[in-house]
């Protein structure tokens, strides 16, 4: 029986660009180039490896976002995913993590799945909670923040490195997995992969396809309100000295003056 893997990916503003808020205090996505969240590349990689080790598997890559988010799908398809699903709807603007998990869970259910694979966090919001929320909504085990993952005979196992301990985890499919940047270097798309990706199917769904009402998502459906966003004042220029043989001592004097010694 075929193993159906759905990888959730996010199209995020490039962190090396200047990121801003729009007037409604949502992220200004017009202001800066976007790309596939780097942390989701690891999810695509692990999904492909799991598929390669299975007798018969299909990898679907799923994203929720504006038109440009198709770029994130194309990247994942060029790495080797089989097909894409793009959920796009004007009413999604301003959706928070709780709302995003609703859209993803509905889309994953509609697509059909045995395993959902996600990155550990997006590189823009960096909350790291969406995989756990999707698992809660789907009512399946969460096997998250894995630095190693494998799937065999309908069981997913993995290693989770926490602050105080490293844990080995195990759950039966269906399940939701998230992987860290320690799970393994993501492959580069080959030229062949890039050409093949152009021919791979990408379905487009909107909220009505998923049976979601507009007021359940977007700014209106959000469970949190951003009351203010202020650009952090640039740090005032500090003291910079060139080491002429006494640099360490000078630095120690500064630390003593600030009462760190």
């Amino acid at each position: 029986m075929s193993l159906r893997i759905v990888v959730t990916v996010k199209y995020v503003p490039d962190a090396t660009g200047d990121r801003h808020f729009a007037e409604d205090l949502t992220v200004d996505r017009d202001d800066v180039d976007g790309l596939l969240s780097e942390l989701d590349e690891y999810a695509v990689e692990q999904a492909l490896q799991i598929a390669e080790n299975a007798d018969d598997a299909e990898v679907t890559v799923l994203t929720v976002g504006p038109e440009d988010a198709k770029d994130a799908l194309r990247k994942a398809l060029s790495m080797g995913a089989d097909k894409g699903i793009h959920v796009e709807d004007d009413d999604l603007h301003g959706t928070d993590a709780i709302g995003t998990s609703l859209v993803l869970a509905k889309a994953v259910e509609k697509a059909g799945y045995d395993l959902v694979v996600s990155g550990m966090a997006s590189t823009d919001g960096t909350m790291g909670v969406v995989p756990a929320l999707v698992a809660e909504r789907l009512g399946v085990p969460q096997v998250t923040l894995l630095s190693e993952v494998s799937v065999e005979d309908g069981v997913v196992t993995g290693r989770r490195d926490g602050d105080t301990a490293s844990e080995q985890l195990q759950a039966s499919l269906p399940a939701v997995v998230s992987v860290t940047d320690q799970s393994g270097e993501a492959r580069y798309p080959s030229f062949k992969g890039i050409m093949a990706a152009k021919k791979k199917p990408v379905e487009s769904w909107d909220l009505s396809d998923l049976g979601i009402e507009a007021e359940e998502v977007g700014l209106e459906g959000a469970y949190t309100v951003v009351e203010s966003a202020a650009e952090r004042p640039a740090r005032t220029a500090g003291t910079i000295v060139k080491d002429e043989g006494e640099g360490g001592k000078q630095l120690a004097a500064f630390l003593a003056e600030r009462k760190f010694i």
Binding site: A132, T224, A229, A230, E231, D243, L251
Partner: protein, 320 residues
């Protein structure tokens, strides 16, 4: 006064510092009621009472250690039902954020993660967050349901504030999904004797300029002279010079200490995302053009192999 639930992060009864910080913040918005779960839960009561917990709800069922996350969500949900709190505060560890999010979903509430400050507001607690690699500061609140907020370490001072800390057993009925993800083994992280990275008041980090695992002893010696934690940039971790558990940055740990000393670190945006909220920033780098110098309170342009040992010696001498 309204009660505020505080989720207790502890290791076999030893309460971790971020939880004590949370008790300080909790007192700004109500009366703290602590929830301690798992092995040693009852042993946390004295420390929690000393820092302001009016009540300590405990349950030491084996499920909390044997299965991932969900049993703890079940317990917090039971505690919310029993207490009807004005808010639920959880330390911003990776697990803490997952617990908080799932709880919020069940409660029909919003969740805010990685708050760096918290104050009482007219419409409920207002959380300060630092976003986009700390280039923006936002203030947010939960607009529906019981606010569930996770707070980063070092967001408040630990303050003694003796309270009753009466221990009560929390009655928990586990959900069907509680045993879904089994923890088949657990290996405690080997203690280095140094403070935990995210909790430390001072962090000393090394990057590409350290140029080899064997040279990290230079960074460790400086850290030890200050009682600091050791961090590493992604470049140093990817090169295999230092463990990933010590990585500071976007894909590693986010730290916000009183003092951050960056050695041989250029200061790429991904690293800055993890340390830019540090109160005082110091850097040693031989490249005068390194972007890290845009952030520093004090910078030394020089060879870290000269500057760092001299600094370490001088600190030791000054400390006598």
């Amino acid at each position: 006064m309204a009660e505020v639930l505080v989720y207790v992060d502890h290791v076999d009864g030893a309460v971790r510092k971020p939880t004590l910080e949370l008790l300080t913040l909790a007192r700004r918005v109500g009366e703290p009621v602590a929830v301690a779960l798992g092995n040693g839960a009852g042993d946390t009561a004295a420390a929690l009472a000393e820092h302001g917990a009016a009540r300590v709800l405990t349950d030491d069922a084996a499920e909390y250690g044997d299965y991932l996350v969900v049993p703890k969500v079940d317990a917090l949900q039971a505690a919310v039902a029993a207490v009807s709190p004005a808010a639920v505060l959880v330390p911003s560890s990776t697990e803490g954020k997952e617990i908080a999010a799932r709880l919020a979903l069940r409660l029909g509430s919003g969740v805010i993660t990685d708050a760096v400050d918290l104050e009482a507001g007219e419409a409920g607690p207002v959380a300060t967050q630092s976003v986009f690699a700390a280039s923006y500061t936002t203030k947010s609140r939960v607009s529906k349901g019981t606010p569930v907020i996770t707070v980063k370490p070092n967001s408040a001072a630990v303050e003694a504030a003796p309270a009753a800390g009466s221990v009560e057993a929390l009655s928990v009925t586990f959900s069907d999904g509680a045993t879904g993800t089994k923890v088949t083994s657990r290996t405690a992280r080997e203690s280095t004797g140094r403070p935990e990275l995210t909790e430390a008041a001072i962090v000393v980090s090394g990057g590409r300029g350290v140029n080899g695992a064997e040279n990290f002893s230079l960074i460790e010696n400086l850290a030890d002279s200050l009682g600091a934690a050791v961090g590493a940039s992604r470049a140093a971790v990817d090169a295999g010079w230092y463990p990933h558990s010590n990585q500071v940055g976007q894909t590693g740990k986010s730290v916000s200490p009183q003092l951050y000393i960056a050695n041989g670190i250029s200061g790429a945006i991904q690293h800055r995302a993890g340390m830019q909220t540090s109160k005082t920033i110091v850097a040693v780098n031989k490249d005068a053009e390194a972007p890290i110098f845009d952030l520093v309170d004090y910078g030394v342009v020089g060879d870290l192999f000269e500057v760092v040992p001299q600094l370490t010696e001088e600190i030791k001498a000054r400390k006598g």
